[in-house]
């Protein structure tokens, strides 16, 4: 394993220390328990948005803390969801009295830890809602399983909900917006190489010289299919068509019912994409793929969307939700409405997403 790290057990802490030193105007870092928060937290009267998850996906989430996006991010160990005490401490630190939205990716670990944190926060009188992101079309079945993973749409939901919070939306409205973003976003990823987890020191999976993994997640977990290397156009077509032609997707998720004061099961359905839809197209590097290649993917994606009558009105291209040093990419398509467009365009000032200010 070759990485610019010291001891693997110091990887996350030292990386956070570097972030803190580099972006002192935007963020602060608490180390024990670990969370990154807006330098000007708590913003009184504003709903606070907190996300978190395993580390190794940088810049997500810590790189998105700041004005117009997240109030706090809880980094777990590499590819391991953070613990309830991190989430609870972060909630206490950034709570501005208007409640907190946890944006949670749909993984067993993340859900269980955030559930525990939610219960703890409520027991301390903090109002908390949480919304699950489950947008990975690589996972087909949902009836008896964990359902779809949360991947690229997470970044978009954090930006859009962060802008809404900044503009004074109340907690329920932001939660509803976040759910809507999730239902309208779909992703699929591919790996050219495996990542290497620092503590493990060897690649998580082995790919031959001419092999790629299709339908990977963001944790170096193997994909659904292994196939021979293809051209960028063929790969893009596979990814894009799987997303665009994905049928409506139904699943049951647990959400907190504030009135009843309990968890309730809610059935949610992703609508399918339709001709005339306005899209945000997000082409993401898994960490080791340079931007020149992402543009080649974007070129083909734009062509396919045009053929399908889908109109790309916004885009995001770069390494935003990564798997350490993995080479590969993911595509996320989000169907936008006018409110989402307005919120996407709103100013944001974080270490890794910045515009309008």
């Amino acid at each position: 394993m070759k990485k610019l790290i010291n001891k693997s057990e110091d990887f996350i802490r030292e990386s956070l220390q570097g972030m803190a030193a580099a972006h002192a105007d935007l963020i602060k870092v608490n180390y024990d328990p670990a969370f990154v928060y807006r330098a000007d937290a708590a913003v009184q009267g504003k709903v606070a948005i907190i996300s978190g998850g395993g580390s190794g996906h940088e810049p997500m989430h810590a790189g998105f803390v700041g004005m117009g996006m997240l109030d706090a991010a809880c980094p777990g160990e590499v590819f391991t969801s953070p613990t309830p005490d991190q989430m609870l401490s972060a909630a206490k630190r950034v709570d501005g009295g208007a409640g907190i939205l946890y944006i949670v990716k749909n993984y067993s670990g993340d859900i269980m830890n955030f559930e525990m944190a939610t219960e703890l926060a409520r027991s301390e009188g903090i109002r908390v809602l949480s919304i699950l992101i489950d947008d990975d079309v690589a996972v087909k079945d949902s009836l008896y399983t964990q359902g779809r993973r949360g991947v690229g749409t997470t970044v978009l939901a954090e930006k859009i909900c962060g802008a809404a919070a900044q503009q004074g939306y109340d907690l329920q409205r932001i939660a509803d917006l976040c759910r809507r973003v999730n239902l309208n976003g779909r992703s699929l990823g591919i790996a050219l190489t495996s990542c290497t987890v620092p503590a493990k020191g060897t690649p998580t999976f082995k790919l031959g010289n001419q092999e790629i993994e299709m339908g990977i997640g963001i944790h170096g977990e193997p994909g659904r299919d292994r196939m021979t290397l293809k051209s960028a156009d063929e790969i893009t077509e596979m990814l894009a068509l799987s997303i665009i032609e994905d049928a409506p997707y139904t699943r049951t998720v647990r959400e907190w019912d504030e009135e009843k004061g309990e968890w309730v099961d809610v059935e949610l359905i992703d609508p399918a994409f339709e001709k005339g839809d306005k899209l945000l197209a997000f082409v993401n590097s898994m960490g080791g793929t340079p931007i020149s290649e992402l543009y080649i993917v974007y070129r083909k994606l734009a062509e396919i969307c045009e053929q399908k009558g889908l109109q790309i009105v916004r885009n995001l291209i770069g390494p935003y939700i990564t798997s350490l040093d993995m080479q590969g990419c993911s595509i996320t398509l989000l169907k936008l409405d006018d409110e989402m467009i307005r919120l996407w365009d709103a100013p944001v000032k974080t270490p890794s997403l910045r515009w309008g200010v």
């Binding site: 160990e77 309830p84 670990g109 269980m112 830890n113 987890v197």
Partner: protein
Amino acid sequence: MVTKQQILQWLQTFATEIEQNKDYLTELDAAIGDADHGINMDRGFKKAIAQLPTVADKDIGSILKTVSMTLISSIGGASGPLYGTLFLRASTAVAGKQELNEQDMLGLLQAGLDGVLGRGKAQLGDKTMLDALSPAVTAFGQAVGEGNSTLEAMQRAVAAGEQGMKDTTPMLAKKGRASYLGERSVGHQDPGATSSYLMLKSLLTVLESFS
């Protein structure tokens, strides 16, 4: 009677067992998960063991509760809440006790199992740690019902747990990360079931060494 001393030694033995099987558990997780189960468990149990001296003079419930809290705040992932809840519920079941008879032990194990069920909402056959834990607890209860000692019951529990662990190999995963793999999850032993088997085996090892 299982003494506090034996409980402490169980925790210690399990931690050592995890350390020795850290790479093995991680490799199992690499095949169908994200290659961190051994790393996660080792991190959590190292921390938990470090806390033991501070509570060694308390009752068994308090000891298990401390373990639980340390696991919850230091593991994360799926195994943190699951093992954390297992020990939390177990601690409540034996709160205040300094030693445990057969029924206490059954209560401890059953409460732990229920904790995992409630937290993870998996079902038997979903290819998770439940598939090792559940048959083990059932076997333990049956053995106790038939009038066996804790040691004898534990021998049957470990055998059942081992079989349960092995039975996860042909299963199609429905919970946890392995579920994303669909058909490709078949043919691999579940890492969580494996660590759960090690937990049961560690307890048996301690009981046997004291008998």
